[in-house]
């Protein structure tokens, strides 16, 4: 099945979001990826974030700050995003093992420049584009006005205001 890398984005405005927050160890007794689905980000405590809420359920892209995925080597962490149809993460930096696990799972770990995290007001969307050469396009919008960010697949960078 072909993966889609675009769609609505959820912003997790904190550095060092760790693998225990992404998928707590008590669920590592599961031996299939699919069984992890309901437990995504269950232990993440962040103002305005609800691990059971619609914003996460609809999200296809996660945007965060530094050192995303730090801690354990558990591949269950990228898997729980994968089974929830989140194949793209955009963050300022990643923990080594998590980044490698995402690569191995055929997911996109887009690295922003340091300090490049700038959330956009209102519900945001990132959309796969069609005309950026080999790049995709991510868009973040407010009602009535759409703002976009283009994701270049070649060097996995992000440019804002492309739309």
């Amino acid at each position: 099945m072909q993966k889609k890398f675009g769609g609505p984005a959820i912003f997790l405005d904190r550095s060092d979001i760790n693998t225990d927050e992404i998928i707590p160890a008590k669920y590592l007794t599961e031996v299939t990826k699919e069984a992890l689905t309901p437990y995504i980000l269950e232990d993440l405590k962040l103002a305005g974030f609800d691990p059971k809420g619609d914003e996460l359920r609809n999200a296809k892209v996660v945007v965060s700050r530094e050192n995303f995925g730090c801690g354990s080597s558990r591949e269950h962490a990228p898997w729980v995003f994968e089974v929830n149809d989140v194949h793209t993460i955009i963050a300022e930096s990643y923990a080594r093992i998590f980044r490698q696990n995402m690569f191995n799972c055929g997911m996109l770990a887009i690295e922003l420049p340091k300090g490049g995290y700038r959330p956009v007001d209102g519900p945001a969307a990132a959309r796969q584009g069609r005309d950026c050469g080999r790049s995709g396009r991510a868009a973040a919008h407010r009602p009535g006005r759409q703002r976009r960010a283009a994701v270049c697949f070649r060097d996995q960078s992000v440019r804002q205001g492309a739309g």
């Binding site: 007794t29 031996v31 232990d43 050192n67 801690g71 080597s73 558990r74 490698q100």
Partner: protein, 426 residues
Amino acid sequence: MGKTLAEKIFDAHLKDEPFAGTKVLSLDRVLCHEITTPVAIADLVWRGKDRVFDRDKLKVVIDHVTPSKDSKTATQAKILRDWARRHAIPDFFDVGRNGVCHAIFPEKGYIRPGYTVIMGDSHTCTHGAFGAFAAGVGTTDLEVGILKGVCAFREPTSIRVNLNGELPEGVYAKDVILYVISQLGVNGATDRVIEFRGPIVDEMSMEARMTLCNMAIEAGGTSGVCMPDMTTVEYLWPFIQDEFPSMEAALADYRQWVSDEDAVYDKVLDIDVSNLEPQVTFGYKPDCVKPITEMSGIPVDQVYIGTCTNGRIEDLRQAAAVIEGKTIADSLRGIVSPATPKIFNEALAEGIIQIFMDAGFCVTNPTCGACLGMSNGVLAEGEICASTSNRNFNGRMGKGGMVHLMSPATAAATAITGVITDARSL
């Protein structure tokens, strides 16, 4: 230009460089436990590639949840057990002979200077204490390692941490590494190897060096490493005496891996530990560290002594020395998990187990246990644990629970008083 230990190991194991900066290395050890390996095994079977690259280089243990606690963990153990039998893997450690992976594998002499080691476990960096390049990987990389005996890495640069001065009495390797992490930050060593150097490390036992290297990942490090020396040779001697005519010959061979004096480092950190106090974490990140004087008096509900960081015999001795003749506070539970059967036996012979039991501790079988909240010793919402483990992430030991990381001596003193306590004050 000279080379670091990591660069020398990369050069000696290089199989391929598919793109700039990414190196495929041959592996000397692929270590396996029952949490991350079963999915790799299932995938290999599904692909019709249920093979292993070299059964003698695979070392396998059940350690995270043992004996199994329910049907799911029993299934994980069974998948690993059946696989080890199917491939006649000689070094497989099941219930009764099993212990925490990062304690039992070094103890069996499986890790040698110059080796490349992977495991589906982030604390694999522990094995760098022997002058090996040892890195945690995910299940996919582990699967490739099991099948092909190779693993791809971005070549890391190195950070050199020089530990100078004199370690004060009552201050241990755990205090040193917590302080180092507080200086580097939780991602200060990402894509880097941390070299622990200097007179403090030279004087440390292999157990203490493993404590240092164990927590390299908590600063984001790919591996922690110590330079192989006579301490390394003496530890390994029972396992290598047929390979070398003398200890000096073994040392001469192992010294080839030592970083050259003109090796290039990404960063050099000079730390004088002469005035270091016992260190304790606050908050939910391992770089949130304060000296004990600023943390004393915080009440805790549980004390946990054990794990791949501090479950070795030296750690139990340090804790027992504080506890001997005393009893733990009524307000808390004390749990001790010796990291391996050998350590358990030594602790029995030395009377250490008796000291813990007389004090009111629960002594468990060797296991990862309470550390990651998936086996015994789980915290309830709002509870606090003083622990000798390596991670204080929110909910790590149970949803809504909090963990303060500290040395075995500090944990022991805390068990007696019921509040975080400097062992030197008792």
